[in-house]
């Protein structure tokens, strides 16, 4: 009931702006696909496969991260710092874990639109390899993980400028470093180990294995689940701090 209330609000908002929301979600991945997939990537292979196939799971992983993170971080920070409507949630009888879960699900569902659209764009060009329910489930989990991070970031910041900094220092580096466009095996050992700590590395690895080889990576799934739970629990804890209202 509480989760469906949050989803209802986000659905009402989505219905009013779906064209703008959807178009904004697919512009960046299309540009990446044209530039790195069909453009630069058409002339070489990576890990024994055409570069286009290599980067599709990376772009899907990166895009679901950016879509869910940006949506939730912006939505919650505006509601908390600008509109002050977040306070209305805390005054209502809604349970805080349910409040957070509702937002995270809304963010994850919204980012899944971009997954479907990217795959629809790729289909006529033969870019779709192994699609399974597990692949979509991992896309969804990735979206939830970064929606959780978006919620957490929105609670931690004091101004909207802080959100830009979080984007610049956390989200953007992950977009490029976590194996989206290149294989991590080519990196110096120490840098490679640092990147192994980042959650997107594991999302993209798992998505790539599923998409290209139809294989599973249990360790990456455990890392993703651990990060999701960690971000969620931390968000719940911070929601109880009066200075974050």
């Amino acid at each position: 009931m509480e989760i469906s209330t949050i989803l209802w609000r986000e659905w009402v908002f989505f219905k009013k702006r779906w064209m703008k929301i959807v178009s904004a979600q697919v512009v960046t991945p299309i540009l990446y696909l044209i530039t790195f997939g069909w453009g630069i990537g058409s002339s070489f292979n990576l890990d024994g496969m055409p570069y286009l196939f290599y980067i599709i799971p990376g772009i899907i992983g990166m895009n679901t991260m950016r879509a869910s993170y940006s949506y939730i971080a912006t939505r919650v920070s505006v509601s908390r710092l600008h509109e002050k409507s977040f306070e209305a949630y805390l005054l209502s009888p809604i349970r805080i874990p349910m409040l957070i879960m509702g937002h995270i699900l809304a963010g994850a569902l919204r980012s899944m639109i971009s997954v479907v659209l990217i795959l629809l764009i790729l289909a006529p060009f033969g870019g779709v390899l192994n699609l399974s329910l597990t692949f979509f489930a991992i896309c969804f989990l990735n979206s939830m993980m970064f929606a959780c991070l978006g919620f957490l970031a929105a609670l931690l910041i004091d101004t909207h400028y802080d959100l830009n900094r979080f984007q610049s220092f956390v989200i953007t580096p992950m977009s490029f470093l976590c194996g989206t466009f290149f294989s991590l095996t080519k990196l110096p050992w120490f840098i490679g180990q640092l990147i192994e700590l980042l959650p997107l590395t594991h999302s993209i690895r798992l998505l790539r294995k599923l998409y290209i080889y139809n294989k599973f990576d249990g360790f990456s799934l455990i890392v993703m689940l651990a990060y999701t739970v960690f971000f969620f629990v931390l968000s719940v804890k911070i929601c109880y701090e009066e200075s974050r209202i």
Binding site: M1, E2, S4, T5, W8, R9, V12, F13, K16, S79, E83, K84, S85, E87, A88, Y89, L90, L91, S92, P93, I94, R95, I96, Y240, E242, I245
Partner: protein, 282 residues
Amino acid sequence: MIKVTGVSKQFEELKAVNEATLHIKRGHIHGLLGPNGAGKTTLIRSIVGLYDIDEGEIRINDETLTRDNHVLKSKIGVVTQHINLDKELTLEENLEFAGRLYGLSKATIKERKATLLKAFNLENAKDRQVKKSSGGMKRKLMIAKALIHDPELIILDEPTVGIDVKARKEIWEMLIRLRDEGKTMLLTTHYIEEAEYLSNMISMIHQGEIFHTNTVEILVEQLGQYCHEYQEAHRIRRAFFPDEEQAKSSIEAKGGIGLVRRTQLEDVYTTLIETKVKESGN
């Protein structure tokens, strides 16, 4: 209904609420008056559970309101000082959303929405987005939203700030109706006539300390029911007397300068706050 006992709340160096004690009876409107920064909003935010108090106790219906006391929360409606509406949604959608947050059934939400939109004259604007609505509409919607779940207790933190006289009077009428229905209300306002018109009891707060609580009638009586108001050295001065005759004598003593009128709550407020400011030195 509400028992605030010895409550203190400190923000770093500032003691925003200082051993405040306040008892609000069921079915009463209790006005809380004080200058800017006196601690009214801090006290209210402590009562509704948004702030954790440092000392004292707050009991509502003999229960403590915490962030997780969902049953008690569902009995309270809060109108905050700042507009905290969802600006992307329409007026009606805001009410629907509030109803859903309080777990009301679809049928109840439909009925309450219709009642409240009509009561606050918002029917014709119900499909307008909040961000495109006037200040008066937003204020009315804030109160309507706080009433969607038919709460027993309504907390109103400056509910009529920044709206025109007509809209303010409409809100007053609504609050009187609610009081007559048995609702309990805590009201803060800078409009003294609003507190005078609506409140059964008045408390005054200065520097976080509640220093006077009584009915309007007794507060006026304690100061003097008649006021001789006159101008002296470019300042408006007031002298208070228990009866009209003494006030008239005061005019004669001043050479016929000024007028005699009934003392109002504003006189009491100004006098008491001025005394407090002098005592505290700021």
